[in-house]
């Protein structure tokens, strides 16, 4: 079949692209490291300068890996949500997960002032941020799952997720109003998102979240395809809707919750990448889309991170802004060209 061959070509190109942008991402930064040295350092043969080796293994490699995991995980969870709700506007955060994480972090940072002094600074270590945002999104997840078990209509889950979002945003606003400028700045920096400064143990946990979520996504491909016809048709073909909905929401929560915990709320990727991918692979078949979205998400995130590093300068831009700055024009261009938003 012709379509199968063109899919294979695209997959090979995406894999090559992933490798290319992975190397470029590691090579570029405040110090430019030649590609040859990057490759030999990654292969374990060391670079020509020991400082380069240190930069690569301790800083840039973890960051590049985080970018790949965050990009692919968010993109896959976006795809899951768009199919589950059969709504092209859905993304990983429609369930209110990122607001939950924000609330957790806001309570920690903005509330830490209340504890003052030593306890306050203890609360603000890097791990406590991770734990707070994970707890926040986990609590929202529990609430969403409880709602899922009671509500019949998946559109209602969508609305309830949005409501959770507004409530937590409001609480964060109240907290901000009563906190000092310094604390506020700290919170805002967290909300910019950051792929860097990950410890290897952090990356391991993130990897576990991503692998688990993506495995569930792969296992749900058949059910996702059935959902393309709508819930009633899916039911008539033997799909157990509740179980499927729960699994999909669980996968999304693990992916989006885990990534938000480690890298902050990264907007846009989850919404945009599935649409970009559907323009490349003109299909709705999830057995093709899930792996394709995985690769596209990773590549987009690597590119955004490379740009955010502002090669040859000491400054780093917030990743959250860059994903939208790069992604939005691309999506607009594609949609204007194709004139149709399909899912």
């Amino acid at each position: 079949m012709d379509t199968h061959r063109s899919y294979t070509i695209w997959f090979v190109m995406l894999l090559a692209g992933l490798l290319f942008f992975f190397l470029i991402n590691i090579s570029l930064g405040s110090v430019k490291i030649p590609l040859g040295d990057v490759i030999s350092a990654l292969a374990g043969n060391g670079a020509s300068k020991s400082s380069w080796e240190y930069i690569i293994t301790d800083y840039r490699l973890p960051k590049a890996l985080t970018a790949i995991m965050a990009g692919s995980g968010l993109a896959v969870s976006g795809l899951l949500m768009q199919t589950l709700f059969r709504n092209p506007l859905a993304g990983p955060f429609v369930l209110g997960l990122s607001s939950g994480a924000s609330l957790g972090v806001a309570l920690l940072i903005l509330g830490a002032g209340a504890f003052g002094g030593f306890l306050g600074s203890l609360l603000l270590s890097q791990w406590s941020l991770v734990i707070a945002s994970a707890l926040g999104s986990f609590l929202v997840l529990l609430a969403v799952l409880a709602v899922t078990l009671r509500v019949k209509d998946s559109m209602a889950i969508l609305i309830i997720g949005l409501m959770f979002g507004s409530v937590t945003a409001a609480v964060v606003a109240v907290l901000s109003y009563f906190s000092t400028a310094e604390k506020l700045q700290q919170y805002i920096f967290w909300s910019f998102g950051s792929l860097g400064n990950q410890s290897w143990s952090g990356i391991l946990i993130l990897a576990l979240c991503c692998i688990l979520g993506i495995l569930i996504a792969f296992a749900s491909c058949k059910s996702l395809n059935a959902l393309l016809l709508g819930e009633n048709y899916a039911k008539s073909m033997g799909l157990r809707i509740k179980r499927t909905t729960l699994l999909i929401i669980l996968a999304t929560s693990i992916l989006a919750g885990g990534i938000t915990a480690f890298a902050g709320p990264i907007a846009f990727v989850g919404l945009a990448v599935p649409h970009l991918t559907r323009q490349l692979f003109v299909t709705s078949n999830h057995f093709v889309l899930v792996p394709a979205v995985l690769l596209c998400g990773a590549i987009l995130m690597l590119i955004c991170d490379t740009v955010a590093q502002l090669p040859m300068s000491e400054e780093t831009l917030p990743i959250n802004a860059i994903t939208s700055l790069i992604g939005a024009p691309v999506v607009i261009w594609l949609l204007v060209r194709k004139r149709k938003l399909l899912f």
């Binding site: 058949k222 033997g238 299909t283 709705s284």
Partner: protein
């Protein structure tokens, strides 16, 4: 009794349909009893809001019955697992498939889901059934088209092909002829007739095309406010069952032509 059960596609006894509101029953129709032999084309007619869709949803297991029994394929409907039920009956709904980005062949292939493994891989037999469904509904020429490109008439054929691909003895369709012009309405009805005559399917569909139904159906179910009549069309006419279907002062049923006429 056993031979009768074997030939019966649907047997309904003491059925009460409706929905639950705060655990309280809100019945729409009750005391429904009928039995339909397999291989028949069955038309369900009745005024808007009388409960045709609710009856079809109950018979297809999408909505729990309030009371009574539905026996399909010789077994109580509620005793089927969702996967087993999907091999007994397939549906064509009024709602359009949510995604327009599927190709016709992909959409029809989804009908094989109850039979494929967890990776949805189509076997040789699956492909054969799909090809067969494409041919019966004359959609083979459309197979690589995207669903959003299809006209209403083409789309209707495609969703019927999907139900055929599901390869069930019983197919239930909710108003398959709405939005279609006269030619396509006749085409779909003749297609359904062919499915019963040539493929041995039992086809149950609701429609507002009562005159077309009278011409084609083997059995008609006439739903009225407090009675349900199930019989062959000519006998229903004989007993004047269509006369009270709509308010007599507006529409009148002419038994000779089998048509409704507007009263002046």
């Amino acid at each position: 009794m056993t031979s009768e059960a074997k030939h019966s596609a649907i047997t309904v006894s003491g059925l009460e349909i409706g929905y639950f509101k705060k655990k309280k029953k809100i019945p729409i129709a009750s005391d429904i009893d009928f039995s339909i032999d397999s291989g028949k084309l069955v038309t369900l007619v009745g005024a808007n809001g009388i409960g045709k869709s609710t009856l079809l949803r109950t018979l297809s297991g999408m909505q729990p019955e309030l009371d009574g029994k539905v026996i399909i394929g010789g077994k109580d409907l509620s005793a089927y697992s969702s996967l087993e039920r999907a091999t007994q009956l397939s549906v064509v709904l009024t709602e359009a498939p949510a995604s327009g980005n599927l190709t016709v062949r992909e959409l029809i292939s989804l009908g094989r889901q109850p039979y494929t493994n967890s990776f949805g891989v189509l076997s040789e037999r699956d492909r054969l059934v799909i090809q067969n469904a494409l041919e019966i509904t004359e959609t083979a020429v459309l197979k690589n088209r995207k669903c959003y490109e299809l006209s209403d008439g083409q789309m209707q054929r495609v969703v019927i092909a999907r139900a055929l691909a599901q390869d069930t003895p019983l197919i239930i369709l909710d108003e398959p002829t709405t939005h279609l012009d006269l030619y396509h309405r006749a085409y779909i009805l003749k297609l359904l007739k062919r499915l019963t005559a040539e493929n041995g399917k039992t086809v149950l569909f609701s429609t507002h095309e009562i005159d077309l139904g009278i011409q084609l159906a083997d059995v008609m179910i006439v739903m009225e406010k407090d009675a349900i009549h199930v019989d062959e069309p000519c006998k229903l006419i004989e007993h004047g069952r269509f006369n009270s279907l709509f308010p007599e002062d507006t529409i009148h049923f002419d038994a000779n032509s089998g048509r409704f006429t507007i009263k002046n």
